[in-house]
């Protein structure tokens, strides 16, 4: 008898479940952190995490949306895919905003959702949602695993698709019975076979010659650098290229840090709330070299007036972006680093364009970003400048969307890539704070400052629990104007000051809120108190929430009103 029992035990030991196979596949993909939230359909996976001495970190967020934004923050600062795990139905639908956000901002994510068992898919079973249907338009690609044999291949393809070419989110939907299925299969080598997905990274040499030629004839050249430069790790190459040919560089919102913000050639951010020099440079240049930006409408303003005199060259890894919004004479489908390397190999003799550089210098001096100091409370722009000063310009800054985001973009000068984590394309409130959680996990030794509005913070403040639990030293700076500032600004300008539902008559006591999570809370109401408070917060050995009361009626300037051209800014003062 005993012999028989032993034999059975041996067999049991050899067997693994689908959930174990998934964990093996995650390990094989080099995953170190998973942001997740358990639930019925992923119980087998969570059980496998419990039983296996899992060689990666699982971060339990307090809402699935917090998990996916944290994964985005992680992806943004590490450059590696953020990994998310959530259950079926409500777990999966709570991810939708974050997945869309990642899609719009080209962030690599691999999202695993549980699904009801295959035999009840399509019956409106408990906690069933059509994840494939819901996520098809908001992902780079998605999979539903119907057979355990496919799982290792699907996982490796998902990581490959998410992180190569133009990065993006990939969803893998795993029915419960698949993760419960017992198999004897062990590690198997898997290979990606994706004949329809072969991103082109090398530039066409003829197009590079064309661009070099155009550059050598240009009297007013301009580089517009976007997030593509950051993703491809091309910031150094961009700096070499700009310096060698004395090319001024404007950047998009997500291009912050792709070129040093304090560099002489930097014109800083262009677009709706970009500065005068950058926008006028776009208006007046005769050659616009877009590297890794997608000509978003918040950048271009009215397309009729966008770079009207310029020959446009566009370097992008995604061919579909070239010519989508702006007619392009020199299309270059390539990875930004590869294209810049090819350009650096060319011996380009540029025309003398000192006059152009001088004009831009003069504009920088004459039309700087400006603001007035408030008498009673804190000027939000000054608050950002103080954060910049106190952090020595070296913080990782995360934001939501709105006024505080634009002020942070304007007044924090990023000299390094991967330090600016913001929701650009989708403009997601509630993004900034959970993104800071992910950023801090991805970059544990860096100072992570989450600049958020009082509105957005309340959309995801439950993640305070996570920073407490893990002792993540995130500094949350609430730019508190007791209102939805950007909504209020638009109502002021375009809706005759009818402030419909944009001003909070009640806000929680954010200091007490932090304290009830066991986190240090501080309130700052006057400018005189701010430097001391920031110094204290930044030197504090743990998380801090600083509630900064700022001027309620402040507006973000300069601004290009909707429908207006890039040269028609309002709020520019000499």
């Amino acid at each position: 008898m005993s012999v028989k029992v032993e034999h059975q035990l041996e067999q049991v030991e050899e067997k693994v479940t689908g959930a174990d196979v998934l964990i093996q596949a995650l390990v094989a993909a080099g995953v170190d952190t998973v942001f997740g939230y358990p639930g019925g359909a992923v119980l087998p996976i969570y059980d496998a995490l419990y039983q296996n001495d899992t060689p990666f970190n699982h971060v339990l967020t307090r809402h699935e949306q917090g998990g996916v934004h944290a994964a985005e923050g992680y992806a943004r600062v590490t450059g590696k895919p953020g990994v998310v795990l959530a259950t079926s139905g409500p777990g999966a639908t709570n991810l939708v905003t974050g997945i869309t956000d990642a899609m719009m901002d080209s962030l690599p994510l691999v999202v695993f959702t549980g699904q009801v068992a295959t035999n009840v898919i399509g019956t409106d079973a408990f906690q069933e949602s059509d994840v494939m249907g819901i996520t098809t338009p908001i992902t780079k690609y998605n999979y539903q695993v119907r057979d355990l044999k496919e799982l290792p291949r699907v996982v490796s393809e998902a990581f490959h698709i998410a992180s190569t070419g133009r990065p993006g989110p990939v969803v893998v939907d795993i029915p419960k019975d698949i993760s419960q299925t017992v198999t004897t299969r062990k590690d198997e080598t898997t290979s990606c076979h994706l004949p329809g997905y072969q991103p082109n990274t090398k530039p066409n040499p003829l197009q590079i010659v064309k661009l070099a030629d155009a550059l050598s004839r240009s009297r007013k050249p301009l580089i517009l650098s976007g997030a593509g430069v950051v993703f491809s790790g091309a910031a150094d190459l961009l700096r070499q290229f700009a310096e060698r040919n004395q090319l001024p560089v404007a950047n998009t919102l997500h291009g912050l840090g792709s070129f040093p913000g304090t560099h002489d050639l930097s014109l800083q951010m262009a677009g709706m709330h970009g500065n005068y020099t950058a926008n006028m440079a776009i208006y007046e240049c005769d050659l616009l070299i877009n590297i890794g930006a997608r000509f978003d409408d918040r950048l271009t303003g009215n397309l009729k007036h966008f770079a009207p005199n310029a020959k446009v060259a566009h370097i992008d890894i995604d061919p579909a972006e070239i010519g989508k919004n702006v007619e392009t004479e020199i299309p270059i489908v390539a990875d930004a680093a590869e294209a810049l390397r090819a350009l650096l190999e060319k011996d380009i003799t540029t025309l003398e364009h000192d006059a152009w550089i001088d004009t831009l210098e003069q504009n920088k001096r004459d039309y700087p970003l400006w603001y007035d100091h408030a008498e009673e409370c804190i000027s939000p722009q000054w608050l950002i400048k103080e954060i910049y000063r106190e952090s020595d310009g070296k913080a990782i800054v995360t934001t939501d969307v709105g006024q505080h985001q634009m002020w942070a973009a304007q007044f924090y000068k990023f000299d390094q890539p991967k330090r600016w984590v913001t929701s650009g394309g989708l403009g997601t409130m509630g993004f900034g704070f959970p993104a800071a959680v992910g950023a801090q996990i991805g970059a544990p030794d860096e100072l992570v400052v989450s600049v958020v509005g009082d509105g957005g913070f309340q959309m995801s403040s439950q993640e305070l629990s996570v920073i407490k639990e893990r002792q993540l030293p995130v500094k949350v700076i609430i730019v508190n104007n007791q209102s939805l500032g950007m909504v209020r600004q638009w109502q002021e300008k375009f809706f005759d000051e009818r402030y419909s539902e944009s001003i909070f008559s009640e806000n929680p006591d954010f200091v007490k809120l932090a304290e009830c999570y066991g986190i240090r809370g501080m309130r700052v109401e006057q400018e005189a108190e701010l430097p001391g408070a920031l110094a204290e917060a930044f030197h504090h050995d743990g998380p801090v929430v600083v509630d900064c009361r700022v001027v309620q009626m402040e507006c973000v300037y300069p601004m290009i009103a909707p429908g207006k051209g890039i040269h028609e800014m309002i709020g520019v003062t000499k």
């Binding site: 098809t136 994706l194 329809g196 995604d318 579909a320």
Partner: protein, 172 residues
């Protein structure tokens, strides 16, 4: 302008949904889509007839199709010599003497009767969309009970002439 575009795609579940979803999201104006297996195992062929306003829209359409991970190859075959055909099934009211009359109407179109009942008959016609259209309008006075069309399916002719021809000569 009307364009005929073909795409070789991986024969995975949900591919059609992916592609029509993308076209819908990006507001492309689709006249017809037809899909079926191709000569290669695991690869289907799609034919789109689309109405696009200009070259820029057309370029976006082919680029966005190409960007789909399940799409292997996209071709705009409009300006080449091609064969383009559509199938239509038309159930017409007809009994007694109209039956013979209808038979007379469809013969020049090389259409055929594939089902006959006491008070109706079903005509099958294949050809270029204009020919199908012409037959339908001729049959309409008899009373069409039911109509189903497949949409155009097309590919390049085996031999391409030197001169570029006009789309209408193919679809007419």
């Amino acid at each position: 302008m009307k364009r005929v575009i073909t795409a070789d795609v991986q024969d995975h579940s949900g591919v059609l949904n992916r592609i029509t979803g993308m076209l819908h999201k990006r507001q492309f104006n689709i006249e017809s889509i037809s899909v079926g297996k191709s000569e290669r195992v695991g690869i289907s062929k799609m034919t789109f007839v689309v109405n696009v306003s200009d070259d820029q829209k057309l370029e976006q359409l082919t680029k966005q199709l190409n960007k789909q991970i399940d799409v292997l190859k996209v071709k705009d075959i409009t300006d080449h010599a091609m064969v383009a055909r559509e199938l239509a099934l038309i159930k017409v009211v007809g009994s007694g003497q109209t039956r013979a009359e209808i038979q007379g109407v469809i013969t020049p179109f090389r259409a055929s009767l594939i089902d006959v009942s006491r008070d109706s008959l079903t005509v099958q016609v294949t050809g270029k969309p204009d020919k199908v259209e012409a037959l339908i309008s001729l049959l309409r006075p008899y009373g069409i009970k039911e109509l189903a069309r497949t949409g155009v399916t097309a590919f390049l002719r085996g031999q391409q002439p030197q001169e570029v021809t006009d789309l209408n000569t193919h679809l007419a």
